[in-house]
């Protein structure tokens, strides 16, 4: 049998790679095992159609932690983030709303819709920024166990209490409202322009199986302001070369730090003896020994797929079972012979260099959700669209373009189940809806790739197609993610750790779970 590693990381998604890089940096002998032929998990770039590079699943780099970029020196490994410059929302009546990177331009545009909203927008932004800053330390901390009387937990809880107490009554109340309200209600307190509310609310529903009128959707609005703290509208952008380039740069850093990475090496089982992990068994039958194992897979896959239920306490198994992980989104990638021509803002222009949001009204989004609630994909879905080739010409042949369309809602549990016919019907619904805004789109399509939640599960190992490894609802966050008492990246098995988006602080290409898990692991395992 081969050598024994200090650590095996299961899954070469971005969090697994971040984790491996940090472990290797601390001197551990690390092996990353990835099932697919390509690294990155849901953060991959693939040339599905010759000459056109698709960021197949994850399509924007939202909150990649700046400390990770710095500490792993990702820039020297080829990471270059190109800014998203705007959010353009075309309307069926031919009008539009664009929010630009430039503050004054946005203000002028908002003023056109509503002077009141233009005024409120700045005040809203200030409040959100303050709240984002208040919440930020939480994202960078290992969740304490509120039931624990251990000094470390108590200190952390006291510190949290003090931190939030210092916010003062007004901001604390605003924060509580943000955490509990629906994005529609929360925005109603501030704005009157329907398209503005809808486009902002849309960012609150991405990846959730909730509508904008559902309480619990408001707090995701904060995410949009998180990035900006770190110097940067720039924090929202594309990676040059597609999202896969992010994974590639982390992998390159990990390799340089001494980690070994194997692709096409799917893990079939995590091996354990007497409650302690000993290594993994690959699908090929090969067994690899390790002192510790870290799983970057989602909790359902890790605990119910790779382990024997009998090896874990029944309470824990129960908690993993009830951890909600319903997929709600699909993805359509297009190779285009020409740019889309939007009726609302014809021709080429800077509005095509940012996000394009199909979210004309809150009711539109809510109705899209209504379809999904009862097991159908949205007939007229919400779409978040980007044209990476507008920013990074290397993504498509000269004069041609790639378009990435994030689509919501597409329930994993489709009535009658997903099949080829239903997948294409879903793709048609997307194109039909889009052509209402950009009539030339249908003729511009050279190739179309449609991913349903079932495809995401099949291809990327995302259980039920959930892009966040578990819904980001209030009762699945912080010390409850993924299960009470096990939010500290540890598991009921000794030397088995978790580092995926199913752990705090959750999904998005941010890398924080991978980094925090590494910190916890290194407390117990120095090289």
């Amino acid at each position: 049998m081969a050598r024994r590693y200090d650590a095996i990381v299961v899954g070469g998604g971005h969090n697994g790679l971040v984790n491996a890089a940090y472990l290797a940096r601390a001197g551990l002998d690390v092996l990353v095992l990835e099932k697919r032929h390509v690294l990155g998990g849901a953060a991959v770039t693939e040339e599905v159609y010759p000459g056109f590079k698709y960021s197949v699943c994850s399509y924007v780099v939202s909150l990649l932690r700046p400390e990770i970029i710095r500490e792993l020196d990702l820039a020297s490994h080829g990471l270059e983030i190109l800014p998203l410059e705007s959010t353009f929302t075309p309307l069926p009546n031919g009008d539009h709303l664009v929010r630009w990177a430039d503050h004054d331009e946005t203000r002028r545009e908002l003023y056109r819709h509503s002077p009141r909203d233009a005024e409120a927008y700045d005040e809203f932004g200030r409040l959100m920024l303050q709240l984002a800053m208040a919440v930020k330390p939480i994202l960078g901390m290992v969740p304490p166990d509120p039931t624990s009387f251990r000094p470390a937990d108590l200190t952390k809880l006291a510190r949290l209490g003090k931190h939030f107490g210092a916010l003062g009554s007004d901001k604390l109340a605003a924060l509580v409202k943000l955490m509990t309200m629906s994005s529609a209600d929360f925005l109603n307190e501030w704005f009157e322009t329907e398209v503005l509310k809808a486009t902002m609310a849309a960012s609150g529903i991405i990846g959730t199986f909730l509508g904008p009128m559902s309480p619990g959707t408001a707090y995701v609005l904060l995410h949009h302001y998180m990035g900006e703290i770190d110097g940067a509208y720039r924090a929202w952008g594309f990676a040059r070369g597609g999202t896969g380039a992010v994974s590639e740069s982390i992998a390159s850093a990990a390799r340089q730090l001494g980690a070994e990475i194997r692709t096409e090496a799917g893990v079939e089982r995590i091996l354990s003896k007497d409650g302690r992990v000993t290594g993994v068994a690959l699908e090929s039958g090969e067994e690899i020994d390790a002192r510790l194992v870290v799983s970057g897979l989602d909790p359902r896959r890790t605990f119910l797929g790779l382990l024997d239920r009998g090896d874990m306490p029944p309470d824990f198994v129960e908690a993993i079972w009830r951890f909600r992980i319903r997929g709600s989104s699909g993805k359509v990638n297009l190779a285009l012979g020409e740019l889309p021509d939007f009726t609302a803002l014809p021709g080429n222009g800077p509005h095509l260099r940012g996000a394009i949001s199909i979210s004309p009204s809150v009711e539109y989004l809510e109705r899209a959700y209504d379809d999904a609630k009862y097991g159908e994909f949205s007939r007229r879905p919400y779409m978040d669209i980007v044209l990476p080739s507008m920013i990074d010409p290397g993504m498509a042949p000269p004069g041609k373009h790639v378009m990435s369309i994030f689509v919501q809602y597409a329930p994993y549990e489709l009535n009658g189940g997903w099949n080829d016919r239903r997948r294409e019907a879903f793709g048609d619904a997307v194109i039909d809806t889009l052509s209402e805004y950009a009539p030339n789109i249908r003729d511009a399509i050279l190739h179309r790739q449609v991913l349903t939640p079932a495809d995401m599960e099949e291809t990327f190992g995302l259980t039920e197609g959930n892009i966040f490894h578990g819904e980001l609802s209030l009762h699945q966050l912080f010390f409850l993610r993924p299960a009470p008492a096990w939010a500290n990246y540890r598991t009921p098995l000794t030397n088995l750790y978790q580092c995926g988006s199913g752990t705090h602080p959750g999904g998005g290409v941010c890398g924080a779970p991978g980094r925090l898990a590494a910190q916890e692991i290194l407390k117990e395992h120095r090289s």
Binding site: P146, G165, A173, V176, T180, P215, G216, Y374, F479
Partner: protein, 530 residues
Amino acid sequence: MTGPYDAVIVGAGHNGLVCAAYLAKAGLRVVVLERREVVGGAAVTEEFIPGFRFDSCAHLIDDMHPAVVRDLGLAGNGLEIRRPEPTVFAPLPDGGHLTVTRDPAATAAAIRRFSTADAERWSSFGTAMRPALQFLEHVRAATPPELPPARSGDFLEYMKLGLRLRLLGAREMTEVLRLLPMSAEELIDEWFESEPLRGLLAAFGVRGLFLGPRAAGTAFAMLGGLSVGSEVVRASGMIVGGIGRLTQALADTVVANGGLVRTSAEVERILTAGDRATGVVLADGEEILARRVISNADPKRTFLGLLEPTELDPEFVRQVRNVRMRGAFAKVHLALEGLPRFRGSDAETEPLQGAIRISPSLDYLERAYDDAKYGGVSRAPFLEATIPSLTDPDLAPPGQHAMSVYLQYAPHRLQDGEWDAQRKEALGDLVVETLCEYAPGLDALVHARHVTSPADLESVYGLTGGCTSHGEMALDQLFFMRPVPGWARYRTPVEGLYLCGAGTHPGGGVNGAPGHHAAREIIRDAKKNG
């Protein structure tokens, strides 16, 4: 000019009366002023149809705050509260039904017809919910401390609540914290598979809310329908003779303790001098001076209606305006010539004494909400009917019955149009037609009906937006956020002006807790200030 009183209470709803009774008992000179000719607010019984008396709005009571019944001697006041059996009778479209009684074994047996697994989990579900219910009892009993703690007392109160939570056990504690922000659907999904049971439980999660069962926070609302006892579902109470008897008994207690209750005395404005409330002026111009004013009206009526905006901080006014008071509820009262016969019901077991609820599945409720969230009336609404004349035959002529039907969702603010006579009739038709699907022939029994639309709830009963709970009981409008952050302790920015209605913690329902808590704080202040 009359007075000065120690306290004038604006509105003789049940909370105003509870508060007044406590203050009177404490020796304060109180006067309660009621706009209508009858006391009770939304807890009132009226003869809408000659010979038939109906509970106009609320028709079931929660457990009264335990201290209220004891302290105010309501039982000795001729007040009789009954816990009808069954607690809930839920007919189903296929002619079956699910009946919940106080006996968990009998309920489990009823559930077994739909799912063995569900039946087996019924009691353990009750047990699992108990820690949260126990904890919430403590929360409900407290005056909300401010957050962040402003005084040492606040800090102590949070420590106390934290400790209570922790004493439940580590596992139970995280379970309570996990439960509170969930949706009813998520919680129910973890336990039950059969639709009749899921619909029955989900109804507790949405009753009185303009939300569907998939909305976060509805699990918390659902807990309100459950019992710490073994019966799992809390047995609501009915007042023999109608709910108006309760508020009449409360009014009697006020008077017996030397207080005054005046009806047909509409308060038009709260008088202030400097930053202090000094009394009220009635619609007819009469001024009544008092050392303090206590409003049982909802926060919007109180601050936006009875005070001038200039008397308040603009930020406070903004927050009051933002209190969500979206009503989607109506009441249809039916005078029946005989007892309706529900398909599948067994006449001998008298299944109609308690609440009759139409909520056959979770999605039924969600679809009912879908219609309403875009401003329409639910095509297939959630209904909760009571036939109190079964318990007290005096409520209807011999052999006939008075049936009160609560309907949800009928939005106060319609997408198109107003609540005119035609709409009201359509609402009445909708209720009768819906009931007929479950009790064929019911329409032939209806000899008269009276519709109370969401607009009537506002205009007749003073419920802003038709919101029966004086502010939606959603997570962001509870505890230290109720009615607005910073003012959850029954006091207001106007010195000497207090709130005592359902718009304050712990909120809506006929339980008297806000009135009780407000009185507790007012008496504390009165002692401090001599």
